[in-house]
Symmetry: C2
Subunit: 471 residues, 2 copies
């Protein structure tokens, strides 16, 4: 492709994206296609000869778009938000255009140094002290895996330099709440601890970890000759944004010499609001923290921010130093390949730079406050509706609700009724919800926070829910 | 940002990228900035108020560009190539514009199904049989970590579902050549095997693993009561593109019931050329294979292709199934969140789609053949120059060479002399080389394969090397 062709197709794609985003509200939020429908439209073999990309916009519109679930749609109330703001789209374009690798400082100094500065901006924005240093990881799931690997290595005085986990005499144990994210369980398994050595601690009526239960579990393990190795506190669980008692957990972690990792994947974004910081009170006692600007703030994935207290410990766990990667500046610079799992790294800091320059902290704060207010509005109407029940506090932007027709009681039938409501709303295409199970009960989960979601969209969702419940 | 502002800045950035790429040859390949120079130009605090991105092109040019090492420069002979073709830049733009998540089928069916088809196209292109199924991973390093985790779980009948690696009685051992990539060592450590249980097998005069040595090592470990768990064969080592004897290693792996992982990060791209496939003869005996289209083919990182024989085994190692991720289609579709380390996934298949449509297989083949011929040309002139020595065969596009002035012998002084030559070339800015150490000797490593590199650039490099050697 010549630079001229690139310009021409590039402009067409920019225009197509602008139109797609402008008209997104008219599309069904959740893709309605059947399994295999997209695959069936694609050739089974690769093309032998190339063709100009002139027609790519047509094929995107015809083949790809019907198979897209629109995460930037104002009716997106599923999972957690994953906003890719316009500024972030432009940053991804730029990063690809530069094609820079960010594995070592030398492989593109600007990528490393912009990441250093952006992570420090973010640290200030969420109110963390200077004892924390940030680095970009891919996703919260891989950041949590990093945390558990670092915990393992600290507890074993770097067993990976010797016989590995398999040579350790004392069993290491990991603790998290029963409402912690599945990536914590996955990380504990992948890091070699094994499911038997993962304690899922009971939660209280607000779905937060009960510190007393954690204390007992750690004590019992210690008495059995096992070693409490890592504690994962969740600030804002995925099901219900429950808030684990970080300060109490920090005390217990310190007492047993365990690593404290704080998973604030979504809620960490809200820490740019000083009035929310009580939610992770005690966070300064953490060894590591993860939060995802690619969720609520709008950088687009992948951009997880991983903050650690002891950078040397992280580097010692993750580093390798073969001859072909050494450079003359190694003693004076950061080589981020030694700060996480992968060797290769894209130039992701651009996304934060573009977003923060364009929006500024105040505008981001205003948008998050809008979403918190929309959640409180919905909470108000749900609480005022006799047939609806709320099953969790609304700390942030997520509601857990269920419809209980007069005379119905808990059970499989009520669960099926609520699943049907969510399915009916999703099927109509104006909103997309992901139901879940909380304390054994089927719930409808409403997660507010798409950049485009205004009050009227939340009002429309409430109408949809009521209509579906009546059907 | 309004859609209109997005259009305007988007067009400006597309134009800027087109101009950057057109004029790239005039820029110094390796960024010449001093540590801290970029950081010093950035504010220490985030902006409170946003500003339009109109001026972003100016700041990219002024602050960022001087700190970029240009991986798409025709004088890029460092590391391995990492081409981000124009088609891939446009795909990244599109992926960000759509902002789709590809963790589950439901979260964007088109992203999952395009990935299925693109991985099958790629499988056909590199000549792998239908017994292999592909999935996109981030980087070869994380794909190799997946492989060793799967090997661990197969060997222990899924110990992660019980007491983990720490509860296993038999020590598991991993084997790879002493020339294998550092990410293999890192993966063995992170997966909990420990350095003591990683055997780096000696290599022959061509820097390839010696099968007889591997056999002996596995036998000795078995006699000691240890269990050979995984064998990593490298097709195209990073230092010298050495070719491990995959077929022999497959026999040994099968004999001991060990997992065979083939690391063909760069060389796998060359398998689109039928005449290169002898290089990984025996690959059909592998349990897993990784190759990086983001290296030589031009998709831009991150796009590693990971092929496995037993998808169920991969899924069982990587899967979680919490209520908030379940969808009604789960029994009938692929949920790629269960095929790798991270939960979240970008829509990366677009990059292969755009690239293969635009270039076609034939054009990609022609470009790779051009690079192989350029490497053979350089081999010819090096071999004809009395003061220069070649220290490895030239199977692909990488040369390992050293300058030996008349009368000089091996030693620290000769090593320093060759390091100086590479530094002098890099300093002049027309080419960028990464020196390395091969069998204890300092070498100059020439890796050809940037999309823009033509014969004249290789000729110019040879002039530069000779000039630097004379100085």
């Amino acid at each position: 492709m010549t630079p001229e062709e690139f310009r021409s197709v590039g402009h067409a794609l920019v225009d197509w994206i602008a139109e797609y985003r402008s008209g997104i509200e008219r599309l069904p939020v959740m893709s309605p296609v059947a399994p295999g429908a997209i695959r069936a439209q694609l050739p089974a073999q690769p093309p032998e000869r190339g063709t100009p990309l002139d027609s790519i916009v047509v094929d995107l519109e015809r083949i790809i778009l019907p198979g897209i679930t629109h995460w930037n749609h104002p009716g997106f109330f599923a999972y957690f938000p994953s906003n890719t703001s316009f500024a972030s789209v432009l940053a991804d374009l730029t990063a690809a255009g530069l094609g820079a690798q960010c594995m070592s400082w030398q492989t593109s100094p600007a990528a490393t140094e912009l990441e250093e500065v952006m992570m420090d901006w973010l640290r200030q924005m969420v109110g963390l002290s200077r004892q924390f240093t940030g680095v970009i990881q891919g996703f919260a799931s891989t950041a949590t895996l990093c945390a558990l690997l670092c915990a393992r290595e600290r507890a074993t005085n770097f067993s990976q330099d010797r016989g590995g986990l398999q040579a350790e005499e004392k069993r290491l144990v990991v603790y998290a709440s029963e409402e912690s994210h599945s990536s914590v369980w996955k990380a504990a398994r992948l890091a070699g601890f094994g499911s038997d050595n993962l304690r899922l601690i009971p939660t209280d009526e607000n779905h937060a970890l009960i510190a007393k239960e954690l204390e007992t579990a750690m004590q019992v393990d210690d008495e059995r000759g096992m070693r409490p190795c890592a504690v994962v506190a969740t600030t804002g669980t995925t099901n219900s944004t429950a808030l684990d008692p970080v300060a109490d957990m920090a005390v217990l972690a310190r007492l047993w010499g365990a690593w404290l990792h704080v998973d604030a994947a979504l809620a960490g974004d809200a820490m740019i609001l000083p009035e929310c910081r009580w939610m992770w009170d005690g966070v300064e006692g953490a060894d590591s923290i993860v939060l995802n600007p690619h969720k609520w703030l709008g950088t687009g994935s992948d951009l997880s921010a991983y903050f650690v207290r002891d950078t040397e410990q992280l580097i010692r766990t993750m580093s390798t130093n073969p001859a072909y990667l050494r450079t003359q500046h190694d003693a004076h610079v950061k080589n981020y390949r030694d700060w996480g799992l992968p060797l290769g790294r894209r130039f992701r800091a651009l996304k934060l730079w573009f977003l923060l320059r364009e929006q500024g902290v105040a505008e981001l704060q205003a948008r998050l406050r809008r979403d918190l207010q929309n959640a409180q509005w919905l909470k108000g109407v749900v609480d005022g509706a006799p047939d609806w029940q709320r099953t969790a506090p609304v700390h942030l932007q997520t509601l857990c609700i269920r419809h209980i027709p007069p005379g119905w009681t808990d059970g499989a039938e009520l669960d099926a009724h609520n699943l049907r409501i969510a399915a009916a709303v999703n099927h109509r295409g104006r909103a997309f919800l992901t139901p879940s199970i909380l304390k054994g009960k089927q719930i409808i989960r409403v997660s507010i926070g798409a950049e485009t979601t205004e009050r009227r969209h939340v009002e429309a969702l409430w109408e949809e829910l009521q209509a579906a419940a009546r059907e």
